[in-house]
């Protein structure tokens, strides 16, 4: 299934896009998804500190991605 994924902050810099459609197998957890992003984009070296939201709700790493989910990848930000 194609999962629409939004990238914010430095995650957008790393991916080079606001959003991507990412092809995901069934039974993929956020932890798997995180590992896959890190594998594809080595600059995601700090990704374990990022927050993931699905359909505008914060999710834990063991959340299993469902069809039609909208994922947001949210790095910590520090500007002020």
């Amino acid at each position: 299934m194609k999962i629409k994924t939004l990238f914010f902050g430095v995650a957008r810099d790393i991916v080079g896009k606001d959003e991507l459609l990412i092809d995901v197998q069934g039974n993929t957890t956020i932890q798997d998804f995180e590992a896959r992003l890190l594998n594809q984009y080595p600059d995601f070296s700090d990704i374990r500190n990022f927050a993931f939201a699905v359909n505008e709700s914060y999710v834990d790493r063991n959340y299993s991605i469902q069809k039609n989910d909208l994922i947001a990848v949210l790095p910590p930000v520090s500007g002020g």
Partner: protein, 358 residues
């Protein structure tokens, strides 16, 4: 029309949802704004104008040229002056009824609880990740609401953390980002921002403060608002309050809340701007700045972007003196200290405080 409080606030008190009752709540509030930069500027100014009674402003820093593009209440004549004092001066001129107390100081684990305990509400307008966790944890230990704001380039985050609700205290920073990141992404080279998102996030913080204090509308409780100014996309991420005060008490004991990047630098490995200017031409200067288009105020002999810097691959000439430079003197110090391991007796220096203070 006479200058008095009734006339000053008539466009607020005339709102039936707010009224004299809302105005009274603002006037009785005692708040602290930590950080008087891009966020603190509009937050303090709009809240002062709205009639907040007592406001403390905390910032350790002074106004710099490169601040002015987004800290729009500072004037060129303010360059070099302490931010908290300059901002307080403006606030007094827009609202003579405000009680404002500027403080030029850095918040640390040692002074935070004592400093913050007297306020009804804390506003986080800082630009340092460890300080954001320090404020978050202190607010929880003190049972006070924290109005959080932060940003990166074109994106900003806002939330009202740790507000007492009928269901207990609302979410805090650690419910969304549990740990203080060890390596800040990105580190030394401050990436910059366009000024509207800074203002938008600051105004959303001011809006939260007014909502919370006057008990109006729905504050961003158990939510993290995310705003992308490039396409005006807004997300409101729902969170669950899980990291409680007991956990924070443990974390408080473990953490130093110091910026790993700002570790003490050895004086022997540093060179001041003054010294570098005096001994111009005597050094082999290497820039470790990433941005190839960044214009330096002096000539450099070599450029090695810090990401590609690898001391193993660098051969230095023992008859030369080396100076590493970067924007803030953090990556250049890291480069220097790595090479000092390989060449302990060579003359290798890092430009103290970086090009920004040259």
């Amino acid at each position: 029309m006479e200058l008095n409080e009734q006339n000053l606030y008539q466009r607020q008190t005339g709102l039936k949802e707010f009224g004299e009752a809302g105005q009274k709540k603002l006037s009785q509030a005692k708040i602290v704004i930590v950080g008087c930069g891009g966020l603190g500027n509009p937050v303090a100014s709009y809240l002062a104008a709205s009639g907040i009674g007592t406001m403390h402003l905390i910032d350790f820093d002074k106004v710099e040229v490169s601040n002015l593009h987004r800290q729009v209440f500072f004037k060129t004549e303010d360059i070099g002056k302490p931010k908290a004092f300059v901002l307080a001066q403006h606030l007094r001129m827009i609202n003579p009824f405000l009680k404002v107390f500027p403080k030029t100081m850095a918040l640390t684990k040692e002074n935070a609880l004592k400093t913050l305990e007297i306020f009804d509400l804390i506003v986080d307008c800082t630009d340092s990740l460890p300080t954001k966790y320090l404020l978050n944890d202190a607010a929880i230990l003190l049972n006070k609401p924290l109005i959080y704001g932060s940003l990166y380039k074109f994106d900003g985050y806002v939330a009202t953390f740790n507000l007492k609700t009928p269901n207990g205290y609302s979410t805090n920073l650690r419910d969304f980002f549990p740990e203080i990141p060890k390596t800040q992404v990105p580190n030394c080279a401050e990436v910059g921002t366009l000024n509207p998102i800074v203002g938008i996030i600051g105004l959303m913080q001011a809006n939260e403060v007014i909502k919370v204090i006057s008990n109006l509308g729905d504050p961003l409780v158990n939510l993290l608002l995310v705003y992308n100014s490039l396409n005006n996309q807004q997300l409101k991420i729902k969170g669950k309050a899980k990291v409680n005060r007991d956990t924070i008490l443990e974390l408080w004991d473990q953490n130093t809340y110091e910026d790993a990047r700002c570790e003490v630098q050895l004086k022997d490995w540093l060179i001041t701007s003054q010294e570098m200017k005096e001994k111009k031409g005597q050094f082999h200067v290497i820039s470790v700045i990433e941005d190839p288009e960044f214009e330096l105020p002096f000539n450099v002999n070599e450029t090695i972007p810090f990401k590609q810097f690898n001391s193993e691959k660098i051969d230095l000439n023992p008859s030369k003196k080396y100076v590493f430079v970067c924007r803030k003197g953090i990556n250049s110090y890291a480069a220097t200290s790595q090479l000092k391991v390989k060449y302990p007796n060579l003359m290798i220096f890092s430009l103290e405080k970086g090009i920004e203070n040259f």
